[in-house]
């Protein structure tokens, strides 16, 4: 699984000097840890790296910046619903405004005073989410396919056609078509269960 951790924080220098980063680099490799202090640059980075499984640590407060964490999360959700975004704030959890974080499907909340173990546990949960989500199953299946991925292979009599790369893009950008692929797999699973072709494991 091609994985990257993106840290969006206005105080990157302080973050880079912390023990947590050493542990992340040790676990995932330094090439797979990215930092952005500018929210717009962070959005650009996400758009350019949608082919990767990105886990985001998002600071909430950005003094003197165009966007704060609430607005950045909203922008990220416009790009994709699939990216786990862990909110990371010095403001205590009980003083934050959470309604829009919930609406925008934030993955979790961590205090900046959290230990490395707590942080890595949250990131492991995000990795587990990647491994078990239907969308990522489809993504992995497409990535492993051989042959020309730009050649149209899927057609509907409505007049639409999609190559594997287009399907991948529809999934990652979570268009209605992209979302429908996971729905189709859910429906197939239910069908197989109802016809006793498969059983649920304990």
């Amino acid at each position: 699984m091609d994985l990257c951790v993106l840290i969006i924080d206005d105080d990157i220098q302080r973050i880079k000097e912390g023990a947590l980063i050493w542990e992340l680099e040790d676990k995932f490799g330094s090439d797979n840890i990215a930092f952005e202090s500018d929210p717009n640059e962070a959005i650009n980075y996400i758009e350019e790296n949608l082919h990767k499984n990105i886990i985001i640590l998002l600071d909430i407060q950005f003094p003197d910046k165009v966007m704060n964490g609430h607005e950045i999360l909203s922008k990220i959700r416009e790009i994709s619903e699939l990216i786990p975004v862990i909110l990371w704030s010095a403001v205590s959890e009980d003083k934050e405004t959470f309604s829009d974080f919930i609406n925008n499907n934030a993955f979790g909340f961590l205090s900046k005073s959290a230990t490395s173990e707590e942080m890595l546990l949250m990131i492991d949960r995000a990795i587990s989410y990647f491994k078990t989500s239907l969308d990522n199953t489809i993504e992995d299946w497409i990535i492993q396919k051989d042959g020309d991925k730009d050649k149209p292979v899927y057609f509907t009599s409505e007049g639409k056609s999609y190559s594997l790369n287009q399907i991948l893009n529809e999934i990652r950008t979570q268009t209605d078509v992209g979302k429908s692929f996971a729905k189709k797999l859910n429906e197939l699973t239910i069908d197989l269960l109802l016809r006793n072709k498969e059983t649920l494991n304990d």
């Binding site: 489809i138 009599s157 007049g159 797999l185 197939l188």
Partner: protein, 204 residues
């Protein structure tokens, strides 16, 4: 003898190769067959005028169409060639079989309300995947069963079984295609009377 009109939009940019493959399956199926009058209608003549000319003198016939569809019409680059608002009355005493998107939502019912005996089609998108014959085999299966004399209620059941066989054979190795085949299966719809090819011939 009964007239069989077979319309294939084989030149369409998106679904032309699928339709062409289905047409070849039909041609293979009917090779050597001398007991029916078969007319193939290709993309370049797939228009409402040609449909009118071909059908208006027929008291009963079989019609199959592989092309784009919307809820109330079938269409090609030449425009709508079967439509709830244009020529729905041409299909009296016909067996109407189409592989197209969404026509089961309205066109099928409109055909039956205007004297068509039985309609087979899809009330959802019809999906296909390049290189997977399962999609065309399931799509064509019901038509061939009708020619062989099976009654339409039984054909519907057998088509579901056919779909299930292919879904079950595919889903472990080809789960994505199996999910699309399942969608086709659940989109399949039959509207109208339980008829056979022989009962249709008696209406001639």
């Amino acid at each position: 003898m009964i007239n069989i009109l077979l319309a294939f939009d084989e030149e369409d940019q998106e679904i032309g190769s699928f339709n062409q493959g289905c047409r070849e399956d039909y041609e293979t199926y009917f090779t050597g067959s001398e007991h029916e009058r078969i007319t193939y209608i290709s993309s370049n003549s797939l228009n409402s005028l040609n449909i009118q000319v071909r059908t208006e003198q027929l008291s009963s016939f079989i019609f199959a169409a592989y092309s784009h569809g919307e809820i109330n019409k079938l269409f090609s680059k030449s425009g709508d060639y079967v439509s709830s608002t244009v020529n729905i009355e041409l299909f009296k005493n016909s067996f109407f079989y189409t592989v197209s998107c969404n026509t089961g939502m309205q066109l099928g019912g409109d055909l039956i309300a205007n004297g068509c005996k039985c309609y087979f089609g899809y009330k959802t998108l019809f999906n296909s995947w390049l290189g997977y014959k399962e999609f065309s085999e399931c799509a064509n299966y019901g038509f061939f069963k009708f020619i062989e004399g099976t009654n339409t209620n039984e054909i519907f059941e057998q088509m579901i079984i056919k779909y299930n066989q292919h879904i079950d054979d595919m889903y472990v190795e080809h789960f994505f295609q199996a999910s699309l085949l399942r969608e086709n299966r659940d989109g399949l719809i039959k509207i109208g009377e339980d008829i056979t090819i022989n009962s249709l011939k008696q209406a001639i």
